[in-house]
């Protein structure tokens, strides 16, 4: 029943969206009824998605998708999240979001009616294209041809709270750029000179970017404690393709600030807006077609791949074509000086786009090579570390002072104070690296990170009088965001470069001296949980005779899918994580891997600050 409701409301919603697309000269619809139709379409697609969720919750195995991906033993929360834990459901979620973004735009936007209708029409066309994709290649409402009592279960590695909300967050980010895309295209087609659309683009690109940031952070946090590889970023293709729209979105958000001072980069903003959404679709294409192999093992199907490739080509091609034909022709000169705000922002924009191209090259290079020479190569961390990081370095340096630069002059106020602090800071970091083991990247990372933080703090104190109010937070907001980045850079540097790894073969009762403390292997415990069997090793961490904490690494066994997942045991401390994974057991001797990850919490703190400051920026206006 729910399948029927779901499918018919999906069809209704698509039909309404097609009706909306008929030119106004034929239908003569008034704005009120236009908006009503659009919102009806949103309502129907939401009903469609909710009926899929309902089918999952009620374990309705007459639905083929539920049968394949769910199991009645699963906890309720994972039944719900199971709805988007598979290809069909997740594309339906993507589709609903396109419509929901349009819905909220229609509510919030204060643009002229003509422009609003145009934006919503473009949004509807995107909706129709993706709806066709769902209906013809990825229908989640197919009825199961045989009568079954039990489902096949969800991939147990996905049964995790962080991962339950990771895909929706990521999708909110990706799909949010569809609205930015619609706004940009509408502004090109309209060819008007008013700047309203820029303010709206600013808001929506910021919102999408925040969701994308949260989605990526959740994903890497999940990878950190679930995959048991001791790290949180692996330059996996799926990670790379989420990073590309993220960096482009970052460039877009920054370019939009520039519009305040300059008019001439409208062209660039439009280009970035188109690029953001294209990269989002490209990501979906690469993941969903199964072209790239990665830790994200999704079901793949060539016809789906072709369809998404077509969507990607049409949407991006259309975007670039409109851009080519109707690109803004305003000829205001940019106010470029040796070092003013505009030039700093432009340099950073260029660097970010080069970084995106580098990542893109690394990600699709294996495909190009396989087509040309029929050999399979894989490109991993070393390529990205040695190309992307050096590209971003000068950007980070500029970033530290960019907010204090002036729009109109070359002067940096109180330049001397910055120099003095920079020298002091360099001395401190040099001494620090002299006494610990020196590492070039570690040195650079620490200097840049701490310099960004210090420079931002100096700027806050020099330029704004402190007051305890929201207004104060709003004006120092850009500095807060940059402090977040600085903290994150320190976290990344320390946790990756100063990470230490120990391997032990130990049995119950053994003690290990580690990191000025004693780690005691107390016991092994096997328990039956609702849908899995859990094996946990209990490690007791003691320092100077005092009990600090229990660390419980282990493994879960999921009988339905016969899969074993690693569960890392992590002891969090503000200064470091002690990260333990449990390996094989051989005659009661366990193989144990221990990582000490210094300052890894800084990464999450930094991301949190960045998100916080972006939210402030969204509500600022």
């Amino acid at each position: 029943m729910s399948s029927l409701i779901g499918f018919s409301s999906l069809c209704f919603s698509s039909i309404i969206s097609i009706i909306i697309l008929i030119p106004n000269s034929i239908t003569n619809i008034k704005i009120k009824s236009f908006l009503f139709l659009f919102r009806c379409s949103t309502l129907f697609v939401c009903i469609s998605f909710l009926s899929l969720v309902f089918a999952y919750v009620s374990s309705d195995f007459s639905n083929f998708n539920v049968f394949q991906n769910s199991h009645s033993d699963k906890p309720l929360i994972y039944k719900i999240t199971g709805a988007w834990g598979n290809h069909e459901g997740s594309i339906l979620l993507w589709l609903s979001m396109i419509s929901i973004y349009g819905f909220f735009y229609s509510l919030i936007s204060k643009s002229l009616n003509d422009f609003k209708i145009l934006v919503l029409k473009i949004q509807s066309s995107l909706f129709v294209i993706f709806a066709m994709f769902v209906i013809f290649t990825s229908n989640p409402f197919l009825v199961n041809s045989i009568l079954v009592k039990e489902g096949l279960g969800l991939n147990p590695i996905l049964q995790d709270p962080a991962l339950a909300i990771h895909p929706p967050m990521l999708y909110l980010g990706y799909v949010g750029f569809s609205l930015v895309f619609s706004l940009a295209i509408a502004s090109l087609l309209r060819n008007n000179n008013d700047q309203d659309w820029i303010i709206e683009t600013r808001r929506w690109s910021m919102i999408s970017w925040v969701f994308l940031t949260a989605g990526i952070a959740l994903g890497s946090y999940w990878a950190y404690y679930e995959l048991g590889w001791g790290g949180w970023w692996f330059w996996d293709p799926v990670e790379n393709i989420s990073l590309m729209p993220w960096i482009t979105g970052l460039a877009l958000v920054h370019s939009l600030i520039m519009i305040k001072g300059e008019q001439a980069i409208e062209k660039w903003v439009v280009f970035l807006a188109i690029l953001c959404f294209s990269l989002s679709i490209l990501g979906t294409f690469l993941v969903r077609s199964g072209i790239l192999t990665s830790v994200h093992s999704f079901a793949s199907d060539a016809s789906r791949g072709l369809f998404i490739l077509l969507i990607f080509f049409l949407t991006t091609g259309f975007g670039f074509l409109v851009f080519l034909i109707k690109s803004p022709t305003k000829k205001n000169k940019l106010h470029l000086l040796f070092i003013n705000k505009t030039s700093a922002l432009i340099i950073n924009n260029i660097l970010m786009i080069i970084a995106v191209l580098t990542i893109l090259l690394g990600t699709i290079y294996p495909i190009i090579i396989e087509v040309l020479t029929n050999t399979r190569v894989s490109i991993g961390g070393p390529y990205f570390n040695s190309t992307v990081l050096p590209i971003l370095l000068p950007g980070f340096l500029l970033m530290s002072v960019a907010p204090v630069l002036s729009w109109q002059t070359n002067k940096l106020q109180k330049f001397r104070i910055y120099v003095i602090f920079f020298i002091i800071l360099s001395a401190i970091v040099s001494i620090q690296s002299y006494f610990t083991n020196f590492n070039t990247w570690g040195f650079i990372g620490l200097i840049i990170g701490s310099w960004i933080i210090t420079a931002s703090i100096i700027s806050i104190f020099l330029r704004f009088k402190f007051s305890l109010s929201l207004h104060y937070v709003k004006i120092i907001n850009s500095f807060i965001a940059h402090i977040g980045v600085g903290i994150m850079i320190i976290g990344i540097t320390c946790s990756s470069i100063y990470q230490t790894e120990y391997n032990f073969n130990i049995s119950v009762g053994d003690e290990i001296n580690i990191d000025n403390g004693v780690l005691k292997f107390e016991s092994i415990d096997i328990t039956e949980e609702k849908n899995y069997q859990s094996l946990r090793a209990y490690f007791l961490l003691e320092k100077e005779g005092k009990l600090i904490s229990y660390i419980k690494p282990g493994r879960n066994y999921y009988p339905v899918s016969k899969m074993i997942t690693t569960e890392a045991g992590i002891y969090h401390d503000w200064s470091k994580d002690i990260y333990i994974t449990l390996g094989n057991n051989n005659n009661n001797i366990w193989f144990v891997k221990i990582y000490i990850n210094p300052l890894i919490s800084f990464i999450w703190i930094g991301v949190f600050i960045m998100i916080f400051s972006s939210i402030i920026a969204i509500i600022k206006k």
């Binding site: 791949g305 495909i367 087509v371």
Partner: protein, 174 residues
């Protein structure tokens, strides 16, 4: 000049899409991605005997003979489909060492399965956590590899073997 820069994204887009298209169309069989291991040395591993947990078989032990490695499990239906073919291979190529690896399977289940279906393997190894399979880059069950007497992988097949594959490809190797 201006127009050329504006054209650049379009040109780039078309090139990239073309490569993707070629990739999708030329992918002969999405179930059989070319193994990076083909013509490479056998990965290092060591596996315990299903029937005797004191006896091990390591990759070094396979260096001087032709070996067929087959990943299977009691829970895998296509494995059952190809199972009988191993008896035929054994008959046709008596010198071949057939090494079965039970992948992510309970030892008791594997034993039961081999009792029911018969045991064509010269040695049955256990890979309960999929570590050996990981070394081989196993995509799904069943998967079969053949290693020559110099320790090089000369054949790989993902999915159930068929009589045709054995006649057309495997027997030709000997």
């Amino acid at each position: 000049m201006k127009k050329v820069t504006l054209l650049l994204p379009l040109i780039l887009l078309i090139t990239v899409c073309l490569f993707f298209l070629l990739f999708i169309l030329f992918e002969k069989d999405p179930n059989n991605p070319p193994s990076v291991l083909l013509n490479k040395n056998l990965p290092l591993f060591s596996s315990v005997n299903l029937y005797n947990d004191k006896e091990y078989l390591a990759s070094e032990d396979l260096k001087d003979k032709y070996t067929l490695i087959n990943f299977f499990a009691s829970w895998c239906a296509p494995c059952k489909a190809e199972h009988n073919l191993f008896f035929e291979i054994k008959k046709e190529i008596p010198d071949l060492f057939i090494f079965g690896i039970s992948y992510k399977d309970k030892p008791s289940d594997s034993k039961k399965y081999l009792k029911q279906e018969g045991n064509p393997y010269s040695f049955v190894g256990v890979d309960q956590e999929g570590k050996i399979a990981f070394e081989f880059g196993v995509f799904g069950l069943p998967e079969t590899y053949i290693i020559n007497n110099k320790g090089k992988i000369i054949f790989k097949h993902a999915g159930a073997l068929t009589k045709k594959i054995i006649d057309d490809e495997i027997t030709k190797l000997f």
